[in-house]
């Protein structure tokens, strides 16, 4: 007991001391800050004046662009006074929320996405921000857990100055679906890390703005591509998927393609992946001996089931939804079999995979800003980068409309057409989902010999994928009447 009391006394004394110190320093800080601010303001004014003079002197020598830019800036500065705001936007800051999985099973990927968004908005801020305001990211961890996601949402949606104006990352289908209704009630928009076809449903996902194509169209394109590759008119098909919005949406797409193309489904494992042991799925796959397989699951599950089926003697061609595959699988014993049988499908162009302006820009910016980045997962940067492009486009539009309230941001998001500069198909969310939904996917062949090791992870390597189809829209996907989600989980 004596020792305890001593400890308590010591801690109390220390904390008092600490409080006193920090408070005193705070006071000093505020003073210097104030002085600094004043100086900065003066400097800014001087700079502005200098620029204006320069402008006059330069006259017409420079291209019109610069002047335009200046005018725009001026216009924005004027606007910033008039823009209507409610929560998350103040005179000098715009708060954007992220509820990402940073400690759960997908944290390797989502932390990369958060990095990319941070890098993007750092640059936006260096170039003067949006509507003269600095973008501030509020990063929360949802640990891939629905209750935590709901806690995060309450914090982000708070109707006070602590709230945010939009959510630029919401990891997970079930997690985003848990907040979809509240998003509509609170007039907030969210970008999901989930490509569920239900987000296009205006009743359910009206405020969820999904980027690129969805699992369902991807499944249609994938199956159609596999049919093409197999060289047969109607190969036998097997579908293997996780249960839930992700897995069953992908499986539904594959089934729609099978019906349209007249394929026989010899094994329908929709929702069959459950638990840590996959013997039943493998044994049924091997028994059914399909010629092509569509897979929607996680990389670990792919390795188990694909590897197990290959060991069991299955020589089918495989492809699967984008999240099913990861470059790290090439380091495992299933690497050679993936090389031989697997095609990777994605929604956006991969790291350094084309020469478009957007790609060059992203690669140079990210390597400069994140020198110690996680380049083992470099293919994931594009997701965060394009999410940030979308968020910026929406906020710019809202600023141009003079309404940066949450409702204004929703309206702006329904107006914009985002030009992803070759990173992904351009996209808008205006009108009927059947018209605006993106139906194109990218398909890559796995080439093990091209894969270079990714240690140390700070050096960019090649993930051993060679592009087979860019912006591929199969006949099934093109002709599909998209009036409702392929898989419905809401009653």
């Amino acid at each position: 007991m004596t020792r305890m009391r001593w400890l308590v006394a010591l801690v109390a004394a220390l904390s008092l001391f600490a409080a006193a110190c920090s408070a005193a320093e705070d006071a000093a800080d505020t003073a210097t800050d104030a002085v600094g601010d004043a100086a900065e303001a003066a400097g800014d004014a001087a700079e502005d004046a200098a620029e204006a003079v320069e402008d006059v002197v330069d006259g017409d020598d420079d291209a019109m662009e610069e002047e335009d830019a200046m005018e725009e800036e001026d216009a924005m500065e004027e606007e910033s006074a008039e823009i209507a705001t409610d929560y998350g936007v103040t005179e000098d800051a715009i708060r954007i929320g992220l509820s990402a999985d940073l400690s759960g099973p997908f944290s390797a990927l989502t932390s990369v996405i958060v990095d990319a968004q941070t890098a993007y908005f750092d640059r936006v801020n260096e170039n003067g921000g949006i509507a003269g305001r600095e973008v501030e990211l509020v990063v929360l961890d949802n640990a891939y857990d629905v209750p935590t996601q709901l806690d995060n949402y309450a914090e982000l949606a708070d109707e006070s100055e602590d709230g945010v104006v939009m959510i630029s990352q919401s990891t997970g289908s079930p997690h985003t679906s848990a907040i979809a209704g509240d998003l509509a009630d609170d007039d907030l928009i969210a970008i999901p890390l989930s490509w569920y076809s239900g987000w296009a449903d205006q009743e359910f996902g009206s405020n969820v703005f999904e980027l690129y194509t969805n699992y369902c169209f991807e499944g249609m394109n994938g199956v159609e591509f596999l049919v093409e590759q197999s060289g047969e008119a109607a190969p036998t098909l097997a579908i293997v998927s996780r249960p839930g919005e992700y897995g069953q949406d992908g499986a539904a797409g594959a089934r729609i393609a099978a019906e349209a193309l007249g394929l026989e489904i010899v094994y329908d494992g929709e929702g069959a992946i459950a638990g840590d042991d996959f013997t039943p799925v493998i044994s049924q796959l091997v028994a059914a001996q399909p010629q092509i397989v569509w897979f929607t699951g996680s990389p670990t599950e792919l390795a188990q089931i694909f590897g197990g089926a290959a060991a069991g003697g299955l020589t089918a061609l495989w492809s699967g939804s984008s999240p099913s595959y990861n470059v790290a699988l090439l380091d495992t014993p299933v690497g050679p079999a993936l090389d031989a049988f697997y095609f990777h499908s994605t929604y956006a162009a991969l790291w350094n995979a084309n020469d478009s302006a957007g790609m060059q820009d992203m690669v140079s910016e990210i390597t400069a800003r994140i020198p110690e980045g996680n380049y083992a997962q470099s293919d994931t940067y594009v997701i965060g980068w394009t999410e940030a492009m979308f968020a910026e486009a929406v906020l710019e539009q809202a600023a141009a409309n003079g309404d940066m309230t949450r409702a204004g941001v929703v309206a702006a998001a329904n107006q914009v057409t985002v030009d992803f500069q070759g990173l992904a198909p351009d996209q808008s969310w205006t009108g009927d989902p059947n018209d605006f939904a993106v139906r194109a996917s990218y398909i890559y062949d796995v080439v093990l010999a091209d894969a270079t090791p990714t240690t140390p992870i700070t050096e960019a390597g090649s993930s051993g994928l060679s592009l087979v189809k860019e912006n591929f829209v199969g006949s099934v996907a093109a002709g599909f009447e998209f009036t409702e989600p392929c898989f419905v989980s809401e009653g």
Binding site: A20, S22, A27, D115, E155, E245
Partner: protein
Amino acid sequence: MRGRPKLFTSYEADSAIFPTSLQKWLAAAGILLLFMLPFDIPFFTGPVPRAFPDSWPLLGGRYTLLGQIPILQDGIPLVRFLGDSNWLRPMTEVLIFAIAAIGLNILAGVAGQVSLGHAFFMGAGACTAAVLGGPEDSELFWGLGLPIWIWLPASGIVAALVGILVSPTAVRLRGLYLGIVTLGLVFIGIHLARVFPQIAGDTESGRRYPEFDIRAWKEGSPQVTISSEETVTGWFGLNAFTVTERQKVYLFCLVVLLAMAFFGKNLMRSRTGRALQAIRDRDIAAEVMGVNEAKYKMIAFAISSFYAGIAGAMWASFLGKVAGNQFSLFISVEFIAILLIGGAGTMSGALAGTFFVILLPELVEKATEWLAEQDSGISGAIGDFLLTEGPGDFGPISEPNVAPGWALNVFDWNVVIYGVLIVVFLIFEPLGLFGIWIKIRNYWKGWPFSY
């Protein structure tokens, strides 16, 4: 000698709800505090001197001691609680989990049957609520659209029936064996939820759960709204008592908790409670004295599962949308931790343990957030040492948006610290928070003499 603990002059006094008047007053104060918590009532807001005048020698311009406390900077609030803040969410969760913790306390603390299957019974309750209270017109899920006064008690009753089905194993099995078998129930429950999506909803995203609104029958607008956006202004004619949805839900859960706690406390004082304690202390001896072991173990399981079922239904309703796999082993383990940290066998221990275990991750998170914001003074130096704030910086904690290296990010550390705190707490205080209370009480018992 009045009010001395452990000094009783009659049997009635020994088995009173509050054996001492101190306990009575503490309990009353605690309940009052819980009721006031969701409100924010500054009784006095006047200017408080935040700093000494510049003219003062030495102290000039420095903060006064009171000015150090951020809350005080707006005035002196005599009663200043959470108000309609985000903290109400975890607080409501605490109340709901406390209901289930009381249930497990009756089973494990009073009757000595440790169960790792509490999440399973919570899930059973939640599923009952979903089916009875869910909308009738759903194409995918079963639903009867019944009002809360049917589904809430029914969820407890169905869970209790499931508990009765399980109880025969408890007669056969003892100690850790029973623990692991009930752990198996959790896995079986999650599997059942997967097999019957009509009941439990989609495997990953689950289904919507009925809200707390009170209706007489199936009418469209509820008689008493609880889970709705509608704000009620001016209860008791006071502006301070303007309640929003969050506050109403909190108060509703508090009322249910108090009712359940009162029932549990009384149960422990009854014939049944004494029989259960006898079984815990020595089951054979209890049988010798005429306690029917099988019957009372069944009762213990039934009551405990009843509490779990109610809590499960309320939790699902509070979250709004839950999948079957949320009722996982992690929840069961959390309850065992709650029980041990609070101190098994006592009502107040169960409540205190829930506060500790549920709020701990929140507090850890807030602490690291605070640390990351500091850049001056001692706290800043600590933060500088602990945090990796960019490439090339060294520290065991990395900011969330610094790429993964060997440093864990703040959110990983929250999990680690949570685990370590459980270990450290149990090592230093094996009897839990209740043990601390006993120590404090014993200190004052003989005060000013040590013995």
